[in-house]
């Protein structure tokens, strides 16, 4: 009896199933792409430094940003930014706060930018990066799987990528996601 009715009940069941997933899907942002490099070591790279930065410690010599810079034993952030990027300006104070108030090491990657403009950007908004590498042609960004600027990566002490945040950081993300994650990686 039920078997005979099955073809009639089936559409309802299938629809209910689809409905469940539509419901779940509403909670997701379709534009966020999970990093393909999670738990994998950061790609090999060697970027020339941004010169003539107004360093707080007064040193004048800039060191290149390499893969090794990310594997110092201390978890840190890698932030891709550019002077021509509006959201980067918006998120910069949050990065400064992370670096100064929470002692977070942030490596900067200056993506496809004019060095002079980058210096003006950092001069106006504050330069709290540890090192700043210049990714002139954007290849290193592609190796990281970056698809938009700004993007921020959390890297553990061994240089493995643990988290990727696309788009500008917000105070909530910094407070609720980044800081706890850095803590847990220590």
């Amino acid at each position: 009896m039920l078997l005979k009715r099955l073809p009639y009940i089936l559409p309802l069941l299938i629809f209910a199933g689809i409905g469940v997933y539509l419901w779940i899907g509403l909670g997701h942002d379709p534009r966020i792409l999970p990093s393909a490099l999670l738990n994998k070591p950061a790609p090999e790279f060697n970027l020339p430094p941004l010169q003539d930065r107004a360093r707080l410690d007064g040193k004048s010599e800039e060191l290149p940003l390499t893969t090794a810079s990310l594997a110092t034993g201390k978890p840190m952030l890698v932030n891709f930014f550019a002077s021509w990027c509006g959201p980067c300006q918006v998120e910069h104070p949050i990065l400064n706060d992370l670096a100064k108030a929470h002692d977070v090491t942030i490596q900067g990657v200056n993506y496809k930018d004019d060095p002079r403009r980058a210096l003006i950007f950092l001069g106006q908004l504050g330069d709290t990066y540890d090192r700043v590498g210049r990714d002139q042609d954007g290849r290193v960004a592609i190796d990281f799987g970056v698809y938009g600027i700004p993007e921020t990566f959390v890297v553990d002490g061994k240089g493995r990528i643990q988290y990727r945040h696309p788009g500008p950081l917000s105070p909530e993300i910094a407070q609720n996601t980044i800081l706890p994650l850095l803590e847990s990686l220590k």
Partner: protein
Amino acid sequence: MTVETGHFALIVALILALLQSTVPMWAAARGNRELMNLARHTAWGQLICVTLAFCALMYAFSRSDFSVAVVAMNSHSDKPFMYKLAASWGHHEGSLLLWILILSLFGACVATFSRGMPDPLRARVLAVQGLIGVGFLLFTLLTSNPFSRLLEAPVDGNGLNPLLQDPGLVFHPPLLYFGYVGMSTAFSFAVAALIEGKVTPDWARWARTWVLIAWAGLTMGISLGSWWAYYELGWGGFWFWDPVENASFMPWLLATALLHCVSVVAKRDAFKGWTLLLSILGFSLSLLGTFIVRSGLLTSVHAFATDPARGVFILGLLGVAVGGALLLFAIRAPTMEGGNGFEPVSREGALLLNNLLFATAAATVLIGTLYPLVLEAVTGEKVSVGPPFFNATFVPLMMPMLAIMAVAPLLAWRKASALAAMKQLWLAGIAAAGVLLLVVWIGGAGVAGIIGMTLAAWLAVASIYAWVRRWWGKGALGRLVGLPLEVHGMTMAHCAAAVIVAGITATSVWQGEAVKLMKVGDSVDLAGYTWRLDRVYDTIGPNYQAMRGDMTVTRASDGSTVSTLHPERRFYPVAQQNTTEAAIHTTGLADLYAVLGEGNPQSGWAVRLYYNPLVPWMWFGAAFMALGGVISAAGKIRTRRSRAARAAAEVVA
């Protein structure tokens, strides 16, 4: 003030819809004629109210009243007047109001053009239609009010997305919504039948008209959208299997199956379950499409601004409407099957196969569209399902479909001889073989190309031959005129399908392309034509600046001028966006398509030239197909009246 009137009118419409969805339904169960006929009045009342509201919105846009939020978000004082008006529906809130307007229009039409329909049926259909109206009006008033004001009106608006500043915006959404809303009417008929507990051939004759109109609307809406993408986006593609495109295509697939099934109910008292289910599912997919576009669920170039809160509401609407209808179907439909049966090889059998192929096609598109979502929900993994998947799965389904379409009209009802049918296809077979050889000789088509063109020829010749056979001979003209309109409609639609397939196949396999850097005075040879860039200069439009090229296309063989093309690259300062305006010259057999890219006088301009064979056939074919549907719809109405007239005459006599 006008805006507030519009807002008030919508509230009145909601009240009317609430009345319409409850009282007539109750009255139909009770047999209370006056209250059943209330539905007619509320339907007209709704139409008047919603029209008022829509006019109020259009008025606000026409006057560039930036105190109205949606006008500020989507319009600008510099915009050309036509697009100021069309912008009324170029965004979420306004297009929703358009949806409701067409819904109330259909309601009023059902109320008016249904003289022979039994009162309870009409009352129930309008009640369900009213319920859908309640859902959409609530959605609008609660989450998407087009009449909300800004406390501080900006000096000027944000402007409309430049891609929408195009005649396509004027026609594509209204026609598409005609189709979606038409499916809601079919849905209403199905639910009314389920509530009544019976599906009769008379019911089918009534429902069929609306199904055909909905189907024609969808056909035109989809093809207009495709044509618009073709000439607007600047690289000659016309279908991307984008989620929003799929959202309109799936209802069309089911609507096509439905229009065949509803005929069978009318003529043979069979396929009732199919008809009910396809009506419900067709509308469900329309609602799903609405959901996808407006909820931010999937990324798409077409999606409106994303808002999950709205998505929740539509999901609720989906749940109530579709869930309720499917539940009703599960409970009632098993007892409603009928008919005297048929042999597997028969017209019914072929139509059964038709249902299978179309349903599978729709299911395939659904799987591909929703799969990324489902996978992410389950595993967090993100995959993309793009054209390669859809082409690989959808195209193989259509091939047997095209082959069978040619045979089915030749099969008798109930029991047919396949051999007899095939014998009538000798001419089609010869044509197909001829085209096959021709295509192989031309070369470059690949297996898919060969199959596509051959099937197109097979179907076209078979359809025309079957049609001619019906009236050829002595007294041909009399027979031709006497044939039911649906025979002509069917022939048109099937031929149109062949023409469309030919167009799609030809342009896919034989497209000619040249991407070059051209300096002024340079020429490029493509597809037997010489394309020369004569001038590149700046020009200005009402709200844009543009770089425009003058290109002369001549026939390589004799140098005669074919056309001058003026591709443009526009910059809209308000929206800070570029658009490419392709220049297209159609020869009827092909399109000459030129796009101007970046560049400078010294190194030249990046120019993309295309030769698209048989592309115009796609658009003409689609229009012809829709026309066939409209002609069929017209035919049935005539039959119904003469039947009613005959019955009346019998009673009198």
